[in-house]
Amino acid sequence: MTTSLRSALKEQLDSLTPPPADLELVVRRGKRRRQVRRAGTAAVVAGVAAALVVPLTGRLGGPEQNSSASDYASIGRLDLDAGLRAYADPGGEIHLGGRTFDAADLEYLDTDATATAFGVVFYDRGRPMLLGESGEVTALVEGPVESSGGSSSSSCVISCRSFHPTAKADSQAPLVAWATLHDGTATLTVRDMSTGEDAGSLDVACGDCDDLVIDALDEGFVFFRTSEGTRIWEVGRDVSFAFAGPQTRVADVRSGVLLYDGPAPRTAEADRYLTIPAPIDAQLTFDGRYILDWSSVLQNTRAGDRPVRLDEGPTKRGALGFWNIDTDGSVLVATLTGEYPQYTVFDCEIPTGRCAEVGPLEPTGGDPMFIGNDM
């Protein structure tokens, strides 16, 4: 007697009645997801000339101690359907969500700013700000904050060190992490951007905290580094663990895969991750399956997968090209397509490697730059 595997599956599955469909729910959440993505990008809607009429000089010349959203002019909404696509000719123009803006008007969006699915997070004198979907800039934290080590910015005239903790977005949850400094205490905060509620906060004893850096945020786990080493803060349970010593740098963490530079982390917490040595500026795709490292060939992290080769951009490390993981998980590539410095920016899908042209870029102020990426 013979039984077919095909018919066994067919018999079990075709007779099955799927649960009731809820199209309305899917559309509602799909729209929200789109809006969340757009919010993140809204920043540069530069194309709206009217917005540009309102100069940002108010912010530039604003009061030193009281950075606020009102210091920023609205730039209107952006279409983030295909990700933020935040790239720039330093000092020339900035591109966000398919629009072009004069870099002078958005000079706060540099490699220290962080492109997220909810907008661009940047720091204004120690205060985390969000350039959101609407094109409005909002302060993520109210109240007093400081931008440098020491209890008072007025106390450090010459040797004042900067507080540059960066911000990070979770690719698996609607979470963004940042840090603030006040009265000698650094506070890490993780906010659920879909609700606007804080998921948690953690005070960190870090002295002047000039060396406090948030290296990654993955599935609600924040990786932060001080002079004593890297720790993991599990936001959901509000507990933190030692992860690695001060010589180890976490380059990126996505979906349980962790890239590090320096000595391998040897704590028990490290066993929860697939740890892979990599250059400090390497990045992971959102699913953690591929490593982006200065090449259009992305190496696989798991046995059984194969590298992804993008349709555009140089495939040899060291060749002239620039890459970044976009806020929707695709890969942005700036590659020479004419005589130097005539670049074209492409948006490439993972894992197919298929690329679509975003637009030309001919930098006059340096190498092509991706917002939130100092690679």
């Binding site: 039984t3 066994a8 079990q12 075709d14 649960p19 789109r34 398919g98 637009g359």
Partner: protein
């Protein structure tokens, strides 16, 4: 889709007609593909809740990137890939990535009129006991009728990996079901 770098992105509110068209397109697609995709998801997940969650998440992503999905050569295949990757990539449900404890199921008296049914049930249970990636390969090959190349694209791996996963899966099925599969895995005999 991927816009060139100048101007004119308009909000949802400003394009009601376009959105109506978008929703109508998506609605048609949703109802057409959902039953099949759910069955595939269930076969891979082995759990109604996980399958439903993965499918819903994939459809939400599809809606939010509808311009990309619609522009794909095969929109259903595009979304199926999202579903499968949702299932394979979910660390939150890591427990089911591991091979499940499997109690060997004896197919009973195969000479009875119900023998074929029992065999197929046995085979189904053995499929459900496979490691998840092998299970995905089997479901995509024998339920979705995809080629090795197409499966490789869905899973983001090489064709060779698909072949070896399929081979391992068939060997495990033979071992755990007590049935004898032929070389192609098309049939099982006892």
């Amino acid at each position: 889709v991927h816009q060139r770098g100048v101007d004119v992105a308009v909000s949802d509110e400003a394009q009601p007609d376009a959105l109506l068209g978008r929703d109508a397109d998506f609605s048609e697609f949703f109802h057409a593909v959902r039953p099949r995709l759910f069955r595939t998801a269930l076969a891979i997940a082995g759990d109604h809740g996980l399958a439903e969650d993965a499918l819903q998440s994939a459809l939400i992503k599809a809606y939010s990137s509808w311009h990309r999905v619609r522009a794909a050569d095969h929109p259903e295949a595009y979304v199926r890939r999202i579903v499968v990757n949702e299932l394979l990539g979910s660390r939150r449900h890591g427990w089911w990535h591991r091979e499940r404890p499997h109690e060997r199921v004896e197919p009973g008296t195969l000479t009875s009129p119900e023998g074929g049914v029992v065999q197929r049930l046995t085979l189904w249970q053995a499929v459900q006991a496979l490691p998840v990636r092998q299970r995905a390969v089997v479901v995509l090959r024998y339920y979705e009728d995809l080629t090795e190349v197409q499966i490789a694209e869905v899973l983001g791996c090489s064709r060779g990996t698909v072949k070896s996963q399929a081979s391992d899966a068939l060997a495990t099925l033979r071992r755990n079901s007590g049935l004898h599969l032929n070389d192609l895995g098309e049939g099982a005999t006892r």
